[in-house]
Assembly symmetry: C2
Homo-oligomer: 433 residues x 2
């Protein structure tokens, strides 16, 4: 098993206490509840609240061993996974569930200026940039009487982009407003760019419209049919126009783990592996590819979406197929069961689509809240997250507003963000300490 995301973890749990030995390899020691990453990026939750050590999640199963390591190659002939340091791990069956990152469409150099949001480290880095932007604006306004517009740009109108844009606008208007004195944090501009003609394109068009209106209601500018064509430190080119900005977050494009390309099988442009109906690959039926790494179509011809329920269902089906085959039974093809999708926009704002039913606003937000607490792994995490949310809802405060990172990076960041620097002093009439 490579990867302990939603798919890998579900497969592992299904294989728990069965007559197989399971080795779970992940390059992180923790499983992250990705749907809440944006809340870490916007200082609502702490990293520890949405993550659990993989070892802890699986510790009660005697037949499962967890190995921290990065798989760099698959040796199909010898049935071995090759780790970063050359160590090889044997397998009879391999489940590849290493997930995906954001794709910069060939512009990987944009990542420094416009980080994506896939890991806890990404989330902490985005939090650092967002909070630093406000700090720097306050500093310029107070020490140098220099007021300037704060601009936050989110690229991509999928769930992550929408959630991030909404949460940044929330922070600026609520949590930070009281703490800054020289600037009005609510004046910060949050712009969401989406290439297509509506946001949250996997939802029904009327829900996309509702989401856009809800976003605009909390002050986010939504720009549809807008392509970002260039990114430099401090500015973004949209179509032909350059737009200055303090923070850019990249929330579009999918690039499946590069491990998929090591299998000698055809992949789509995003690196997703074209899998057989049972999620195995043609040249080696003992290797399965699941979750965001797999490209497979539903009965109606539409692709299975890259969402966590799909990954979990794939994990479970694969585990079932392996156990069946060991017992001499036939594998069954994978069928995606769409139980509905939802996206949150901000405080009391969300949309949800379950079969023919569509929800928006407060009721959709409650559904989102309930499901996300319910699926969060670990009782203690659920308790902590609920406390934090309740606290934030009541007080509109954010508890995790830390800017971390080594001191020298901090200085770099300050210098980086102060593109235009002027030396000056100011004096006040009262005694200054």
């Amino acid at each position: 098993m490579i990867g302990a995301g939603f798919g890998g973890l579900r497969a592992s749990k299904y294989l728990a206490d069965k007559d197989v030995d399971v080795v779970v390899i992940d390059r992180q020691n923790h499983h992250v509840f990705q749907p809440l990453l944006y809340q870490v990026a916007t200082a609502v939750l702490s990293p520890g609240e949405i993550a659990q050590p993989i070892r802890r999640i699986l510790h009660s199963y005697k037949n499962i061993e967890v190995v921290l390591g990065e798989a760099v190659d698959i040796d199909g002939t010898n049935k071995q996974v090759v780790l970063g340091d050359g160590v090889r791990v044997n397998f009879d069956y391999l489940i590849l569930a290493a997930g995906a990152r954001h794709s910069y469409f060939g512009h990987d150099d944009w990542e420094t200026s416009a980080p994506g949001l896939k890991t806890l480290d990404d989330a902490v880095e985005i939090r650092r940039r967002v909070l630093l932007a406000f700090e720097m604006a306050e500093r310029d306004a107070y020490l140098q009487d220099r007021k300037r517009q704060l601009n936050f740009i989110v690229v991509g109108g999928g769930p992550t982009g929408v959630e991030l844009a909404g949460a940044i606008a929330d922070i600026a208007r609520q949590a930070l407003a009281k703490d800054f004195k020289a600037i009005k944090t609510a004046d910060a501009r949050v712009v969401l760019f989406e290439g297509s003609d509506r946001i949250l394109g996997t939802f029904a068009p009327e829900l996309s419209d509702s989401a856009r209106l809800q976003l605009e209601d909390i002050g986010v500018e939504v720009r549809l049919s807008s392509f970002v064509t260039e990114i430099e430190p401090g500015r973004v080119k949209v179509g032909e126009d350059w737009i200055d900005c303090d923070v850019v977050v990249w929330a579009t494009g999918v690039a499946a783990s590069s491990l998929g390309r090591k299998l000698g099988v055809e992949t789509d442009k995003a690196g997703r592996v074209f899998v057989e109906p049972d999620l195995s690959i043609k040249p080696n039926k003992d290797i399965f590819v699941i979750g965001d790494m797999a490209s497979i179509k539903q009965a109606d011809g539409t692709p299975v979406p890259g969402v966590s329920p799909a990954a979990m269902q794939m994990g479970e089906q694969t585990a079932k197929n392996i156990l069946a085959e060991i017992k001499g039974k036939a594998r069954k093809p994978f069928e995606y069961n769409d139980k509905g999708t939802m996206a949150t926009i901000g405080r009391s704002k969300a949309i949800a689509e379950v079969g023919k039913f569509k929800f928006r606003g407060f009721i959709a937000w409650l559904m989102w809240l309930f499901l996300h607490v319910f699926f969060l792994i670990g009782f203690k995490n659920r308790l902590a997250v609920m406390t934090d949310w309740f606290w934030a809802y009541l007080t509109r405060e954010r508890s995790a507003r830390l800017i971390t990172g080594k001191a020298e990076h901090m200085q770099d960041a300050i210098e980086f963000m102060q593109a235009a620097r002027a030396r000056g002093t100011r004096s006040k009439s009262k005694t200054k300490v």
Copy 2:
């Protein structure tokens, strides 16, 4: 005001809503409750639980402005603080409270191998190393049938060293024991080296003895009169002997902020500024130096210790003196009021000394617990820490067991820690996934 540690924060709060303008400059955006840093380093608490944004702590005071920035120089002639990017901040009075770090006695190159524990980033780095050491040992034992002794070394038997050594031993024996399958985490060796003939030298000798016994009781080896003379990646030289180790933590020596040396005043070897009885400096009576940066003697000739109560008392006295002088009154000299000290050793283990009274074991630990929750800043933090402690006490689990750090650093770390690497495979009889 430079620095928002215990001293700076106390001074700021005392000056709040008074007829002065206060500018608080800190290179971090948060105040850290340093006495609990070791609990972040050992995965009991999350960074967010022991830190609060400075801006948030002081947000209700209209006359206080918080500036994120690193003070690099003091221009006494023009009465200005110079920030890292050249911006200058005027002052009528300056309170210098930038604290101290650990000193490597001229061997700053040791820091990479043996980090100290002064900031949240230090704590997260130590946590990463400790957890990674166990992960690597498990990996070697499982994938390569290579068992090896895990060695953790703590240098320095002051409160930080004792707390860290005790907490690492606790983790190995309790929290991690169930989660690792190929290694016995309880077999990990934790060695505490102290140069003098007893640990916690500022306490009464019988309490030092008690602390040593309590440490040994939870499995820590205490080596007194032992000097570390050399540190290399993976090993430490004590006296004439080299000792292999997986993690070294540096918890000895004090180096006051280098700002003290920019004042043109005499400093002691540790860079602490010799201050006047009112904590100001001779050449410029409008500059005060407080907390770990100041060197001052008590009435009985002993130095005021570098502890948080002393820093807070200095902060308050300085604020009082400034307000008095503005009103035309005279300054009063600083007098340290020793209310007692305590150090914790582990679960239900601690020592405390209050005047003539001495406490040890469970009762001292309860006192420690109560006081540390009480003085923690922020109601929500207190609640979260109490919940975590109660949880950890009941279940012996640790909630913050995350190894964070960019993926490439993770790989470096893995390679760094696998000093001896061998290639090999192993097979098992059961089906392997």
